[in-house]
């Protein structure tokens, strides 16, 4: 049976009729065309689908669109400024080459922003623990951690550290 869900996505109010069993990630990708949120494992393990619900990172493959009714959702598309200026965490991933194939990157960035918002100056260990819910199948973790550390500093108002090489 269809139901109507209404929420704010990246600052814009949206309302759509969906089947009740529709997952949030399906809603974002297929109904709203926001394909930056990826489906990796589809079993709540890999974290490619991480988005923010009212500021908290969640796996959108393990949430119904109906559960997000009334919530403020932020996807990777909503991080950069309106003029296209990258969010400091996105800029840090680019500068430190925190990606290889890039498939896990949207989820990594969304998890990293949530992590740093809760803990503005994480240690390397805390970053690695904080990203437990995100898997990089290229195993490119080393640069991802460097990027998150640099992004954390930049989010604090510091300048973005250049990559070592």
């Amino acid at each position: 049976m269809p139901c109507t869900v209404s929420m704010t996505v990246n600052g814009k109010a949206v309302s759509r009729e969906v089947e009740e069993r529709t997952l949030l990630v399906t809603f974002l990708r297929d109904q709203l065309g926001l394909t930056g949120t990826h489906v990796g494992c589809d079993t709540s393990q890999c974290g490619a689908c991480v988005v923010h619900i009212d500021g908290r990172s969640v796996k959108s493959c393990t949430m119904l669109a109906a559960q997000a009714d009334g919530a403020a959702v932020t996807t990777i598309e909503g991080l950069a400024a309106a003029d296209g200026t990258l969010h400091p965490m996105q800029a840090a991933f680019r500068e430190h080459h925190g990606l290889q194939c890039g498939f896990c990157t949207p989820g990594m960035v969304m998890s990293a922003v949530d992590l740093v918002t809760a803990n503005p100056s994480p240690s390397e260990h805390e970053v690695r623990e904080g990203l437990e819910g995100n898997i990089c199948r290229c195993t490119g973790y080393h640069n991802i951690v460097k990027a998150v550390m640099a992004g954390a500093e930049a989010m604090q108002g510091g300048t973005l550290k250049a990559a070592a090489e």
Partner: protein, 264 residues
């Protein structure tokens, strides 16, 4: 996922009433187990009743010698609660070790204990901390709540509203986790109340249980080394690709030792 009808009641009374109206309803907490189950078509409820918008199921309160945690309190809220960290830090630390950050942001206390996964963390706290499980119709002692693998003392249609945990003199939880799922291969919660010591073991058996011999030993001599001679029988313990029953029995003693050490 098979089709279902979705409901979002605003009160426990409405949720109870809704359940009575349908053939095969299921309650939805944070959904971190139920939704993957539905996605694999392992269950086919006619109706999903989402408990996420019911104010009386939310919140953490300090009361009567302990803490009362609403059933819909998410793991991250327990982990980061100032009150929990102050009153029963071992409970906050247990919650911080569940799953990953995203799972903790969704999963709920009520969902975890009602699912009664043999490897879940919370059952160990419910039993060790002499908890009382409050439902829409009665109170159930923590010792009586878990009755078997994925089985509880709840009646059909009964809804858990909160869990009251008693404040121990000291307590700690140690777990040997599965590195992929972060479920407990074995988790041991040790709590001290005056001269009473409670040792609750999760992950090892079909359901959480108390290690009676260890409790008696620790009541006499509360030191990790006192457990050197203690052992748990491997009979009836879980065995799977992650750990044999013998290895789980071994881990119970190791985790109990670590928990005692962490009690300080």
């Amino acid at each position: 996922m098979y089709a279902f009808t979705y409901h979002r009641p605003k009160s426990v009374a409405d949720a109870v009433a809704l359940q009575g109206r349908f053939e095969d309803p299921k309650l939805l907490g944070g959904g971190q187990t139920l939704l993957p189950t539905l996605k694999q078509r392992l269950a086919r409820p006619s109706d999903l009743i989402d408990l996420g918008q019911i104010p009386e199921l939310q919140g953490i309160r300090e009361e009567a010698g302990g803490l009362t945690v609403g059933a819909f309190t998410r793991h991250a809220q327990v982990a980061h609660s100032d009150v929990v960290q102050r009153v029963i830090p071992a409970l906050a630390s247990l919650a911080e070790g569940i799953g990953d950050r995203q799972v903790r942001n969704m999963g709920t206390l009520g969902g975890s204990i009602c699912n009664a996964d043999p490897s879940a963390d919370y059952p160990a706290a419910v039993v060790a901390l002499k908890a009382t499980v409050r439902t829409d119709r009665r109170e159930i002692a923590g010792d009586d709540f878990f009755t078997g693998m994925f089985e509880t003392a709840l009646e059909p249609g009964e809804i858990v509203t909160a869990v009251h945990f008693q404040t121990p003199d000291k307590a700690a939880y140690a777990k040997f986790r599965n590195p992929a799922s972060r479920y407990a291969i074995v988790g041991v919660f040790v709590a001290v109340f005056g001269s009473e010591v409670r040792v609750a073991v999760t992950g090892a058996g079909p359901s959480v249980f108390r290690a009676d011999d260890m409790e008696a030993t620790l009541a006499q001599d509360f030191r990790a080394d006192a457990l050197n001679g203690a052992s748990v029988s491997a009979d009836g313990l879980n065995a799977d690709i992650h750990a044999s029953a013998d290895y789980r029995a071994h881990l119970v003693r190791v985790m109990a030792r670590r928990a005692v050490e962490a009690c300080g």
